[in-house]
């Protein structure tokens, strides 16, 4: 069988469709910037039929291709292509960038020859019509004409502005370069608005402005048109007036000559060009570590001081490459290296490890004679004291933090705030002797500091020195008459004193104290109400004045449940026993009827007050005693929506009303089973009552609530649930080891094994961190020094210390380890007194 017979028969081609399809393809190439393909397509089309639109398309394709070549520096090829364009497409040769390319290629004579011909033709025109394009072409030649020789210039007619203003333009450029202001102004004044050099005038003015007023320079350069013949000089200035990464982006788009001019204008060394190119190629959201790598490759062009600064800034974000190889670029000092490493570790969240590096940095900085270094040492110590690990939940500084602040004062005692923080810390730890010493020292340096005097008042009050507090407060109020904090402090202190006198039956002394308090307290309703209530209790029982004052006192509190709660809280702080009978009597004096049925508004009013008031725990005191049953009965009733119920539960929780919280939360769980917050509150209430989570069901419910909180991205609730779990089982591993009659030797050795395994697993990081928290840095550092870099010995001694600490309190004799101690027993270290773990931190065996 013949193969030819199997060939498919070609479909007949429709001649009418070919040119149209080809034209569409050609247009597509043109629009997509594929100029060579467009040229070929249009040439084929023109062979079929020289339609005007196809000729125009071919001309555009030629122009596009020529521009692409010129942009690549192939101007000769671009010129040839342009000539072909004029010949084939019948377009004007002397249009667009043609003259510009000729000038750039050194063919100025050719351009000038053309100009003179055109000028002659224009003057010989019978209708005397001016040639509009001639002036534009002349202006286009202006930049190139500044560099041509005299012979070329002779081709220009004497009356040409190109020739007349050329010396002025050259003089202006020279005056600008040698910073001769007068000569520059004189030269620029000669260049008129009609001159082909007018854009050079605007440009030079902008370049001068750039040095003194950058905003004005931006405005000036914006007035130079983008298609100006002087754009080659305008472009570098346009790039430098931009800011940040935009400046870099524009700079990178310039050609090499323009880039060098831009670097000069910026004041940037020309040798930095490769570095800037590398940065320009980077993405704006580059990761810090990648930025470090990029600088590392290019930093050799930077001066040492700047390279060091860049290193200091970047190294903490590239721990391995930066901090581990400090001399990779720049020349950071040992202290700088230590600071960078400390910051790097701190950024990672390893506080204990960071603290070790910061302390090393402090030692280095402290040994320097440079004032700045000593200031740095002080700041590092203050920074460490501000770390969360040294602050309790209430924001009280622990003893280690206080130690840092004390040491920082050795290097710089000029920060009043540090003195105040130290005194506050000692006062709140109950060390009033140290607090007073600190105050004396602080007040010597800052006798007129309101913060220091305010702290002096608080310290005096804490020590019961009312007279001293009052004297100091008066001094403070002379300096700061509107200091309400001190006024309230003193007023409340007098009221507390008055309460003691009332309890002791000394009514006259109580009245005096109340009058004293009146002089300090302001006119705020809450303060006045408290004052009037105490005043009422100085009057004899049943007297009309007592009733009047008591009723006056509760009026600003709104009467009802909220006012009654406040009244009973005050009463329970003063009177020895406030049972239901006496509570009702006191409430009755104030005109509050506790038997009245509670409305939802009463509960909301109470919640609002409870949200504002701090928790006061007094044994046996119950400010809700008359209403407790009524409140409990309201829990299952659907009076409130879910949000309001959450608020009510929070109020009960904040004031440790565990019974009411359990009832409200349990009822709310039934109504809104998808709300994990009610599960938390119900379990937390039972935990508050029993001291532990007793029921397995509560565990399971709480775990499900935690999952739900995580799913809902409720991080606050999640952390609250975690804290509850932790509070329920603070030492999970330790419990197994502890026994009432001491820790058996086997358990101690098993524990040693566990510790050794954990050291093998992570190199001892976690163990060291816990040990540091437990024993304090001083002890750990002492151990490190004594072991002199021997890690094995260091960890062995640390384990010995931990085991000794564990065994010690239970009276078990400590047995040296037999598992890894193959060397003779090491000499015991000197332990002056292990630093107690900071408040809020767990023990060594928590994990």
């Amino acid at each position: 069988m013949s193969r030819n017979s199997a060939r498919p028969v070609k479909k007949p081609i429709s001649v009418a469709n070919i040119p149209e399809k080809q034209a569409a393809t050609a247009l597509d190439h043109l629009e997509r910037g594929r100029f060579r393909d467009a040229m070929e397509s249009y040439k084929s089309l023109i062979k079929i039929e020289p339609r005007p639109e196809w000729l125009a398309g071919l001309a555009s394709a030629y122009a596009g291709r020529a521009q692409v070549l010129a942009d690549k520096g192939m101007r000769r090829e671009a010129i040839e292509l342009w000539r072909n364009r004029a010949e084939i497409c019948h377009t004007a040769l002397w249009e667009g960038p043609y003259a510009d390319w000729l000038v750039a290629e050194g063919s100025m004579s050719e351009v000038l020859g053309y100009l003179s011909k055109r000028r002659a033709a224009a003057s010989a025109a019978p209708d005397g019509k001016a040639d509009d394009g001639l002036a534009a072409l002349e202006a286009q030649l202006a930049p190139g004409l500044l560099s041509v020789d005299d012979a070329t210039l002779k081709q220009l007619p004497a009356e040409s502005l190109l020739l007349q203003h050329r010396p002025l333009a050259l003089a202006a450029l020279a005056a600008y370069a040698r910073q001769d202001v007068a000569a520059l102004e004189e030269a620029l004044a000669g260049i008129s608005f009609r001159s082909p050099y007018r854009d050079l005038r605007s440009l030079l003015k902008a370049m001068v402005l750039w040095e003194t007023d950058r905003d004005a320079a931006r405005g000036a350069i914006d007035r130079v048109p983008r298609n100006s013949p002087f754009e080659s000089l305008a472009a570098p200035l346009r790039s430098v007036v931009a800011s940040g990464s935009e400046r870099l982006r524009r700079w990178a788009s310039l050609n090499s000559s323009q880039q060098l001019i831009a670097l000069d204008l910026l004041g940037c060394p020309r040798t930095w060009a490769p570095l800037l190119q590398a940065l320009a190629g980077a993405s704006t959201d580059l990761a810090p570590a990648t930025l470090f790598d990029l600088m590392q490759r290019n930093a050799r062009v930077l001066p040492e001081a700047l390279a060091t600064r860049v290193w200091q800034w970047l190294a903490p974000w590239a721990l391995r490459r930066g901090c581990a190889s400090p001399l990779i670029f720049g020349k950071p000092s040992k202290a700088d290296q230590e600071c960078a490493t400390a910051l790097a570790v701190e950024i990672k969240g390893e506080w204990g490890h960071a603290e070790e590096h910061w302390l090393d940095a402090v030692d280095m900085l402290a040994s320097s004679n440079d004032t700045d270094d000593r200031q740095r040492a002080a700041m590092v110590l203050r920074h460490m004291a501000a770390l969360k690990v040294h602050l309790s939940r209430e924001g009280i500084l622990d003893k280690v933090g206080a130690g840092y602040l004390t040491r920082s004062l050795e290097f710089d005692a000029s920060d009043c705030d540090v003195h105040v923080r130290l005194v506050t810390s000692w006062r709140r730890h109950g060390d009033l002797k140290k607090a007073r010493e600190g105050l004396e020292a602080g007040l010597r340096l800052f006798p007129d500091s309101a913060a220091m005097l305010s702290e002096a008042v608080e310290t005096a009050l804490a020590g019961g020195a009312f007279k001293k507090a009052a004297t100091t407060a008066r001094r403070l109020l002379e300096l700061d008459p509107l200091n309400r904090k001190v006024r309230t402090l003193l007023g409340n202190a007098h009221l507390s004193h008055a309460g003691k006198h009332i309890a002791a039956g000394k009514r006259e002394s109580a009245k005096k104290e109340i009058e004293e308090a009146r002089s300090w307290l302001g006119a705020a309703a809450a303060e006045q109400a408290r004052l009037q209530l105490l005043q009422a209790w100085t009057e004899p029982e049943g007297s009309p004045e007592r009733l009047r004052l008591a009723q006056l006192a509760v009026t600003p509190w709104g009467g009802g449940l909220a006012a009654g709660w406040r009244l009973l809280r005050e009463a329970q702080g003063i009177f020895v026993r406030v049972d239901l009978t006496s509570a009702n009597r006191l409430l009755g004096e104030a005109g509050i009827d506790s038997a009245k049925a509670l409305a939802p508004a009463d509960i909301l009013g109470l919640v609002q007050v409870m949200e504002q008031e701090l928790l006061i725990t007094r044994k046996g005191a119950d400010p809700l005693v008359p209403w407790r049953k009524a409140l409990a009965a309201l829990a299952p009733t659907p009076l409130f929506d879910a949000e309001t119920t959450v608020r009510i539960c929070e109020a009960w929780s904040g004031h440790k009303e565990h019974d009411l919280l359990e009832k409200f939360a349990t009822a709310a769980r039934k109504r809104w089973p998808d709300w994990p917050i009610f599960v938390y509150h119900a379990v937390a209430a039972r935990f508050g009552k029993n001291g532990c989570i007793k029921a397995d069901r509560d565990f399971a419910d709480l775990e499900r609530a935690e999952e739900l909180a995580q799913k809902n991205k409720d991080f606050k609730l999640n952390s609250r649930i975690e804290a509850l779990f932790e509070a329920d089982d603070p030492d999970p591993d330790f419990d197994d080891l502890h026994q009432k009659d001491g820790v058996p030797l086997q358990a101690l050795q098993a524990f040693r094994g566990v510790l050794e395994q954990s050291i093998m697993l992570d190199g001892g990081k976690a163990f060291l961190k816990k040990a540091r928290d437990n024993f304090g840095d001083a002890l750990i550092r002492q151990l490190e020094k004594e072991c002199d870099g021997d890690k094995k010995a260091f960890f062995r001694r640390l384990i010995d210390l931990t085991i000794a600490e564990l065994a010690g309190p239970f009276g078990q004799p400590f047995q040296p380890a037999v598992v890894i101690n193959k060397k003779p027993p090491v000499k015991p270290i000197k332990i002056v007194k292990p630093i107690a773990p900071a408040q809020g931190q767990g023990g060594l065996f928590n994990e």
Binding site: P97, L146, A235, S243, C268, H383
Partner: protein, 94 residues
Amino acid sequence: MLGIARGADDAAVRAAYLAAVRLHPPERDADRFAAVRRAFDAVSTARLRLDHELFNPEPPTLDGLLHLLQSDFSPRRPETASLLRLLKGGQDGR
């Protein structure tokens, strides 16, 4: 952000801040202004500058690096020959 040189005093920092505010006024560029204000608040006094240098928790950015590199620049004028060479290259500068 403010483009201040190392060792700049309080007055120089304030001047740089005011210049930055002129460039990014709050009514026109609120985000940028807020960033400028934050930067000024972080370095307005010598103590704060030292604090920023030691404990800056902000990750470095390309913009920040450029500011750091350019902080000590002082503009210089190109030579006449360089300018003429550039102008001779034609409108596109080549």
